[in-house]
C-alpha cells in the first residue's frame, strides 16, 4: 500500500489487477457492447451518473477504462478518456468547452488536421481561432480575447518540431483563467509530463508512440483536474446547467473530473467516437514497453542525428536536441530526456532528390505515420504536398527537399546502411 509506484511500473500495471475469479494476468478484452443490469435501480443510477460503472461501450468499457486509468496514472491526471483517434480527442475537448461565439488561440505550427479543424471546420460552428507562433509566449498573451476559451498547441510541433515553452505559456493561461490544452503525442508522458509544468488538459494520439507499433488508431483526453471551471459565464458548458441530467453543474458535482464527466455525458453519448476494446488492448500492450522503447527511440535518434549532420548529401538537419535548432534551450529545459524521435532533414538536390531517396531505401518504410517501432519516412514534396509549388510549401514552413523521419528501434547501423543506399541513388541522379 501507498508505494507510489514509479513510471516503469505504472506503464505495466496501472489500471489492472488480476481478478479473483479467472486470475487473468493480462488485461481481458471485454468485447461487448453492453452490460447486464442487476436491477432497474442500478440501471437508473448509471444513467444518472450517480455512481461509476459501465452501461454501454460507446460511453465506457472495462478494457478501455484500464487504458484510461493507466494514462491518468502516467500523466498524473485526475481522469482520462480514451476515444477512437487523436483527432476525436481534440474535437471532444473543443466541443466540450467551446460554443458558437467563442474563440481559441492556437499554435500556427501543428499537424495539418489540427490546423484544418480549427481553421476551416470550427468556424462553421461559430468558433474562431487566431494562430500564433508557438514559441512566442508574448504573442499568445496578446492574442487572448475576452471570449477566448482555451489555448491549444503541440508540445513538439508536427512536422516543424517547434517546442512550446510550456511553463511560460501555462503561467499566462493561468493568469487569464484559460485552460492550456496540449497535444502531447510527440513527447508522451515518458519524455515530459505537461501537468507538472502547469498545463491543464492533454490530448494524445495513441496511434503513435504510446501504442507504438502502428497497429491501432486511438486517442485520449487526460484531464489534469487542476483547472477552476467555476466562472459560470465563461465556462457555461462545464459549470452551468447540463440539459440532460436535471440541470446539474458538472463542476459542482464532479469537481476535478468535471471535464471528463462532461465529455462522457455529451461527447461520447451524442457524437460517439468510442475506442474498440480490442484496440484498447493493443494500445495498452504498447504502453507496457513505453519506457524501454522511448529510451531506444531517443538513443537511435541521437545516433542518426550525428550521422546526418556529418553526411555530405545532407543540406540541413532539424531536431530540437541539436544546438542549431532555434528552440534548443527550451527543449533542454523541458525535455531533458530528449525531444522525441522525429527528425527533419533536407537532401541535396531538392524535390527530385527526395523522391529518389525515398524510393531507394528498403528497410525504412515509406508511409504516412509516425511513432511506430519501425523506422518510417515520408517526403512531403513528392507525396502529401506534391500539388504545391516550392514557394507555397515555404509559406507553410516546409521545403521541397525535406524528408520527415520517424526513427525506429532497429539496429541503427542497419538504418544508416539503408540510408547510404538512398544517398547513393541521389548521387546517381545528381551526376
Amino acid at each position: 500500500m501507498s508505494e507510489n509506484y514509479k513510471f516503469d511500473t505504472l506503464s505495466l500495471h496501472a489500471g489492472h489487477i488480476p481478478d479473483k475469479e479467472t486470475g487473468s494476468r493480462a488485461v481481458p478484452i471485454y468485447q461487448t457492447t453492453s452490460y447486464v443490469f442487476n436491477s432497474t435501480e442500478e440501471a437508473a443510477s448509471l444513467y444518472n451518473m450517480e455512481v461509476g460503472g459501465h452501461l454501454y461501450t460507446r460511453i465506457s468499457n472495462p478494457t478501455v477504462a484500464a487504458l484510461e486509468q493507466r494514462l491518468a496514472a502516467l500523466e498524473g491526471g485526475a481522469s482520462a478518456l480514451a476515444c477512437s483517434s487523436g483527432m476525436a480527442a481534440m474535437h471532444l475537448v473543443i466541443s466540450a468547452i467551446c460554443s458558437s461565439g467563442d474563440h481559441i488561440v492556437a499554435s500556427s505550427k501543428m499537424y495539418g488536421a489540427n490546423i484544418n479543424l480549427l481553421q476551416h471546420t470550427m468556424p462553421r460552428f461559430g468558433v474562431n481561432t487566431d494562430f500564433v507562433n508557438p514559441n512566442d509566449p508574448e504573442a499568445i498573451k496578446k492574442a487572448i480575447k475576452p471570449n477566448t476559451k482555451l489555448v491549444f498547441g503541440e508540445v513538439i510541433g508536427n512536422p516543424g518540431l517547434d517546442i512550446m515553452d510550456v511553463p511560460e505559456i501555462a503561467k499566462i493561461c493561468n493568469s487569464k483563467n484559460i485552460p492550456l490544452v496540449l497535444d502531447a503525442t510527440f513527447n508522451t508522458p515518458y519524455l515530459m509530463q505537461p501537468f507538472k509544468h502547469g498545463a491543464n488538459i492533454i490530448v494524445h494520439s495513441l496511434t503513435k508512440w504510446l501504442g507504438g507499433h502502428g497497429i491501432a488508431i486511438g486517442g485520449a483526453v487526460v484531464n489534469g483536474g487542476n483547472f477552476n471551471w467555476g466562472d459560470k459565464d465563461k465556462f457555461p458548458t462545464i459549470s452551468g446547467p447540463h440539459f440532460a441530467l436535471g440541470g446539474i453543474s458538472f463542476w459542482e458535482e464532479f469537481g476535478p473530473s468535471a471535464l471528463i464527466a462532461k465529455i462522457r455525458a455529451e461527447g461520447m453519448y451524442n457524437f460517439g467516437p468510442s475506442l474498440s476494446p480490442t484496440n484498447a488492448f493493443h494500445l495498452m500492450q504498447g504502453i507496457e514497453t513505453l519506457p524501454l522503447r522511448m529510451k531506444k527511440h531517443i538513443e537511435n535518434t541521437h545516433s542518426i542525428l550525428d550521422f546526418l549532420v556529418k553526411h555530405e548529401m545532407v543540406e540541413w538537419v532539424k531536431h530540437p536536441d541539436l544546438d542549431t535548432h532555434p528552440d534548443h534551450e527550451v527543449a533542454k529545459r523541458i525535455l531533458p530526456k530528449g525531444s522525441g524521435s522525429i527528425v527533419a532533414f533536407g537532401i541535396k538536390g531538392g524535390r527530385e532528390a527526395g523522391k529518389a531517396f525515398i524510393e531507394s531505401v528498403q528497410l525504412a518504410s515509406h508511409l504516412a505515420n509516425v511513432g511506430d517501432a519501425k523506422t518510417l519516412l515520408i517526403h512531403p514534396g513528392s507525396t502529401t504536398h506534391s500539388h504545391l509549388s516550392s514557394e507555397a510549401m515555404k509559406e507553410g514552413g516546409l521545403t521541397d527537399d525535406m524528408i520527415r523521419l520517424s526513427v525506429g528501434l532497429e539496429d541503427i547501423n542497419d538504418i544508416k546502411k539503408d540510408f547510404e543506399r538512398g544517398f547513393k541513388a541521389v548521387k546517381k541522379l545528381n551526376k
Partner: protein, 265 residues
C-alpha cells in the same frame, strides 16, 4: 447550492436534486482537508433515491468561503446551526473520518432532529503524528499528497477505480487543493485535539452504523473496532480497501447504508 451563511458564501452539495426539507435528510460530513466531493457517489445516489441530501463544504473548504473551524466542537456547532437555518428535521448524519468526530459532537447537541448516525472509516479519536501536523503548516500541498497516498488502499497505487477513467490520486490531490491553504492544518489539529470521543460514543442513543476499512492507515481498523464497542448496538461492516472508502468502494458502501436506512422507522 450556494447560500449565505454566517456572513460567508457557503456551498452545499445536494446530489444534483433540489433540497426538500419535508423529507428525511442525509447530512454528509467530509474529513480533514476534504470537501463535498468526497461523497460524489453517495450524494447523487441517495438524492436520486428520494432522500434530501446535504453535503456541505465546511468553511474554507471546496466552494465555501470563510475561515476553517478550529475545533471539532466548532465544526459541530456550525453544522447544527446550518440544519436550523435550512429547517431540516429527521437528519441522519454520515461522517467520514474527521466527519465522524463531528458526528459524535452533533450527537450531544442535536436533540430530536437526529435520527441515526453513520460512521465511515471512523473512530472516537484521530491522533495525528507531529510530522504531518508540522507539514500541514509548512507545506500543505505536500501534506495533502501524502494523505492521498496513505489514505488509499491498493486501488490508489494501481489506478484502479470503479468510476471508469478516474484516478484516486489525481482526483484526490486536486480535491484537497481546492481548499484554503489553512484548512488542512486546522482540521488535523481539530482531530488531534479532540478527546471527548469515548464519552460521546457511550452516549449514543440513536441507531448507529459503522463501515470500516481493512487497510485504513489514517484511522486504523483496530481503533475503529474499539470505537464501535463503545456504541450500544452499532451495526458494523468492514470493507477490503483503504481510508477513502466512499470512492474506493462506492457500491458496497451505498448498499450497506441503503439497507440500514430502510430499517429505520
Amino acid at each position: 447550492m450556494i447560500i449565505n451563511f454566517k456572513g460567508a458564501k457557503t456551498y452545499i452539495g445536494t446530489g444534483g436534486k433540489s433540497l426538500d426539507n419535508t423529507k428525511k435528510t442525509l447530512c454528509f460530513l467530509h474529513g480533514s482537508g476534504q470537501n463535498h466531493l468526497s461523497f460524489i457517489q453517495q450524494a447523487r445516489f441517495f438524492a436520486y433515491k428520494g432522500y434530501s441530501v446535504i453535503a456541505p463544504d465546511m468553511p474554507g473548504h471546496g466552494f465555501s468561503d470563510g475561515n476553517p473551524c478550529k475545533s471539532i466542537k466548532e465544526n459541530a456547532d456550525w453544522i447544527s446551526d446550518l440544519l436550523v437555518k435550512l429547517k431540516l428535521k429527521n437528519v441522519v448524519v454520515i461522517g467520514h473520518s474527521q466527519g465522524c468526530l463531528v458526528a459524535l459532537e452533533l450527537n450531544r447537541i442535536l436533540k430530536s432532529t437526529l435520527e441515526a448516525l453513520i460512521f465511515v472509516a471512523g473512530s472516537n479519536e484521530i491522533p495525528v503524528n507531529k510530522f504531518l501536523l508540522d507539514l500541514s503548516k509548512e507545506n500543505p500541498q505536500k501534506a495533502s499528497q501524502m494523505m492521498v497516498t496513505w489514505g488509499h488502499g491498493i486501488d490508489g497505487d494501481m489506478s484502479i477505480n470503479k468510476w471508469p477513467g478516474h484516478s484516486h490520486y489525481g482526483e484526490g490531490n486536486n480535491i484537497m487543493s481546492m481548499n484554503k491553504s489553512t484548512a488542512l492544518r486546522y482540521d488535523l489539529h481539530s482531530c488531534d485535539d479532540y478527546s471527548d470521543g469515548i464519552d460521546a460514543a457511550k452516549n449514543i442513543k440513536v441507531p448507529a452504523l459503522a463501515v470500516l476499512a481493512k487497510n485504513d492507515q489514517m484511522t486504523p481498523l483496530k481503533s475503529g473496532l474499539k470505537f464501535v464497542e463503545l456504541i450500544k448496538n452499532c451495526e458494523t461492516h468492514t470493507l477490503d480497501c483503504g481510508h477513502f472508502l466512499p470512492s474506493e468502494r462506492p457500491m458496497e458502501l451505498n448498499s450497506i447504508i441503503n439497507s440500514f436506512l430502510l430499517k429505520l422507522k
